[in-house]
Subunit: 447 residues, 3 copies
């Protein structure tokens, strides 16, 4: 089975159930950019796919950054003077400012107030806030709960630990026929937020399972890592692997009801950009193509100018653009099974294009080769429309001059990549195509 | 008289009468890709213009193809049990599947049925069908006639001969001041179909007559040949001539009432593409510019990747896009005299642009040269609009840096090529322009 | 104070008063392309800014031209048989055909008629007409006055002198930190016409005063010269200075009520073209971007192919496009103070962009540098929108690869140049940017 055979999503329903089950298992865990919640998450993924975990000690210099102290938390609450917990980490791990330093202090409400974060525009939702690199403590709560707090004395308790430890990330390499790699990177640092990014974790896991069953031209590298510092750490330690990355996607926010969005790589016209644009344009999906910007998820790091990797991001509603983003409303109900399955299918479609995209050379470039004598052309002539399979063969023959890959031929002809690739296969079998020199870049039309 | 002086179509009415007379003479002949009908057609053309005929023996390898056996036909019919001809080649040569092998068989209607071709969507028209490279026989008839056939025994007779012979094509070279050639290629293989392509034959013949009377910068090569196998045969035998082709047009379907269409060459921005786009854009005609596709007429061969010649196609409604295409409804009444004349004028306009298009070098490139002292500028200054002739001179001077040809200057300035070319002539006469090095390509703006 | 600090137009009201006063002082003077009116004008400007005047003798060859004889005029009129002046230069210097040769002749109206110019479409306005290079005489008057002239004998008197003298122009160089120059060129040859071009003279003078008070990266060369022959003369004599011109603007027609127009340089995508387009696009102004054409003012000379300087033109309603153009209706009331101030602000905005536009190199190009530890990033994370100042820093870091200047970054990011430049300053102060090699061209994205 080739990757292109996965387009039908064999075992679709079981895959969706598995994605849902993984999300439900991971949802309650309090994750952060380091710590046991992150480790527990990676181990849960590792029970599905053979993930290799790396531990990078606090204090390790990574590019311009330093791996921070590890953060672990047991409990956190604000209690009123009667001892009743009015904010309670045990009810939602969003209640604590992520990476809060330990504290145990009594103070009147007015003094506590600057340590409390709420969302006036969504009074029932708890916001998600962090302070990774400046030592702080704080609590997040709904505006409604905040407004209901009576004046009085409160005790704020964060029972956390910030101490030398390690940053953990998980990695899986599925080797292919060539050492050239497709990178799939997903962030695992957010606590109880479902679309951002348990959906990405679940989709990447399912994708690894699917690809594991297929014959792969490319090698596939899956990274499960904390956002920003995780990709920076990985980049700092993997100069050799980076040289093999030919295409990449950042996997995030793939479960909401919104339309698919593809955000281009910094290059803008890399093969991954053309493949994703073609896949979305040919599908029946409503979708958007978004230009690169140096904001979002780990594409910020992969597309920094010192790397400039051809890495885009395929999401549903992007980062920061849905109201539930980084709030308690991004819960398990916010993620829809049909959206997960549709996103997975879109990923498979893009990868199938990358797998089958090649440059060929027409071995009979002067005039059209006689297709009829090779059984590739209908016998009865004179019809106005020869059909898309014949068109596809004629286009592939006409443009297979070493300067156009199949994706460029599909785009120029208006035919789908799938039809064009099938035509190329038939023509290659008939000896009318030979592979273009493998030393040449596999990109689109040479400029 | 220069080619540009032909823009007014001197002798327009006589030309139209001659085109019509040639079409009427050729319409009844049963043509195919080989055979006496094709020979007779080329001889009729040869009575108007000095065509050289070539005969290429059956079995000759030509590129990836082989010249097929020659086909000739005397008679063909289907008769009912009473001997009455219910389908009769003598009424229309479309009734026989073109290139039918000989047959003489009796069979019941059910058995005959797979050998009969009709057009359910146009029940009164006879379709045109062929089987050049697979030995078959068959008949074409209207759906109405097909439906009216009673059950019973029929005799199918095709009195044809498929035997070693030759493929015939006609060629005319009008030499010009330079050996660089403009190719005009038209297919002559279709039997009683008027727009496709007696119209093209008639226009190409008239164009050759017109150009024969003019001073020509370019040499013009006219090819009258059977579609596909004819151009492939010519290409296989004329490597040296091919090297001289600088521009080309495939002439077909130039007589229907639809708007002009220019289909670009594979290159998309060749000088012929720019010239045709400019000519159509400046004319009052409704028109369409169509991107290249590897389907249609002999541009498929000229634009195959091993040649990639700058050959476009200038038609009215393109190939396969009018309902009458390849049916008996494409008859002499379907071709309109005014459309033929208008198409001929469009061809002349495009050729006139190619003839006059050059790159010049401004000999006084620093500042504007003083036009007034050369009598090129009005004496009274201060007027807001100097007029388009002065604008044209200023544009030509400003852009004649060796990188822009006159066509590029016309396109950038928004002026017509004719006005720009006239300005260049005046400036050259005044010594303000000199020809750009002839070793450089004559294309548009250097990139 | 940097040029960018002039954006607020310090002393705006005083500047407008000074521009108005200069226009009022210059309005009555009869200017031409040579002569004492031009000298007097340049001296009046020289009382505001330290202008150096050059005198180039008549007969001096300049490029393809020759400096003409100098023209001076004392009086001109047409008198009727009673001696009454029916056309009188003393009422408006537009009444005389500019550069009229001396004449004193009596003749009947019918004979006089070809020497009289009027504007039928604006019967109350006196047209402005010239005859610099062909010796003529003539008078301009309103159509209404022309129609009212009774038959009879008239005396035409032009008391002028055409004799060897000199062509005068004024020049001011404000040295900057680098010898690279921005050219600001304005024509001073038109007599009593206010928008064309006392407005340009007044704006250029005010701009020179403003820039004189600022720290300048570029050197600024102001040219006040007669149109066409003046710039040709300057170009002929200043080959060395020309080599230093990096950007330029032709200053004209900056006082009418119409929207700003920027006419691109011949190159079309020079840095000045990108800067002006950005400045106008980001402002609240209605505006138009106009493609280059080889007609208009002295950009015709600067953009001739032998120079091809990056010189555009920033005007309000362009040359020849307002009905009052080159008529007596282009008077002091036609120029509006608010338009003058707005035009001046637009010039300052464009120059501020050029001053601050640079290419930088990100010194920490692998991954994002940690902005937080440098105090450049807010501590609390998780918010959906980091604000435009943070966006600007991320864009500058991402695109500062030596191929993009700040203007290209502003255009790609959709942020204003000002915000992007401020971000670059902060990043440079933090050591995260270093200047790109000064040997490289300062243009936009390298192609």
């Amino acid at each position: 089975m080739n990757v292109s055979d996965l387009r039908s999503l064999p075992g679709r329903d079981a895959l969706v159930r598995q994605m849902r089950a993984l999300m439900e298992e991971l949802y309650p865990i309090c994750r952060s950019i380091t710590g046991d919640g992150l480790r527990e998450t990676l181990r849960a993924i590792g029970r599905r796919i053979p993930l290799a975990l790396s531990e990078v000690p606090s204090g390790t210099p990574v590019l311009d950054w330093t791996v921070p102290d590890e953060w672990n938390i047991r409990d956190a609450y604000v209690a009123d003077s009667s001892g009743r917990r009015v904010i309670d980490f045990r009810r939602s791990n969003l209640h604590v400012l992520n990476y809060s330093e330990p504290v145990r202090r009594k103070m009147p409400l007015a003094e506590l107030r600057p340590f409390l974060f709420a969302l006036p525009e969504h009074p029932d939702w708890i916001p998600y806030r962090t302070s990774y690199y400046e030592r702080r403590w704080g609590f997040c709560l709904s505006q409604r709960d905040l407004d209901a707090l009576p004046d009085g004395e409160y005790e704020a308790v964060v029972d956390s630990r910030l101490a030398p430890g390690a940053l953990t990330y998980g990695e899986l390499l599925l080797p292919g026929e060539t050492p050239e790699e497709i990178l799939l990177s997903t962030h695992c640092c957010h606590p109880s937020l479902a679309n951002d990014n348990l959906s990405g974790i679940a989709l990447a896991t399912a994708l690894a399972q699917l690809l594991g069953t297929a014959r792969r031209r490319y090698s596939y590298r899956f990274l499960f890592l904390p956002g920003t510092i995780g990709s920076i750490t990985w980049l700092a330690r993997n100069a050799e692997a980076i040289a093999h990355i030919r295409h990449g996607l950042v996997v995030a926010c793939v479960g909401d009801a919104g339309p698919m969005h593809y955000k281009r790589s910094r290059r803008g016209d890399a093969e991954i950009d053309r493949a994703a644009a073609h896949a979305l344009a040919r599908s029946e999906r409503e979708h958007r193509i978004v230009e690169f910007s140096p904001y979002g998820y780990d594409e910020r790091q992969y597309c920094s100018p010192g790397y400039d990797l051809p890495v885009g991001s395929l999401t549903r509603t992007p980062h920061g653009r849905f109201p539930e983003y980084h709030t308690s409303a991004d819960d398990l109900a916010f993620v829809r099974d049909d959206a997960l399955a549709d996103s997975l299918a879109a990923y498979v479609e893009v990868l199938a294009i990358l797998e089958d995209n090649r440059r060929w050379i027409n071995t009979s470039p002067k005039g059209e080769p006689q297709l009829g004598k090779r059984g590739l052309y209908r016998a009865i002539g004179g019809l106005p429309d020869p059909g898309r399979h014949t068109f596809a063969m004629l286009w592939v023959l006409n443009l297979s001059d070493g300067r156009h890959d199949l994706l460029a031929i599909a785009d120029r002809s208006g035919l789908s990549f799938e039809v064009v690739a099938a035509a190329a296969t038939r023509l290659a079998e008939a000896g009318l195509l030979e592979p273009a020199g493998s030393d040449l870049p596999a990109g689109g039309a040479v400029k």
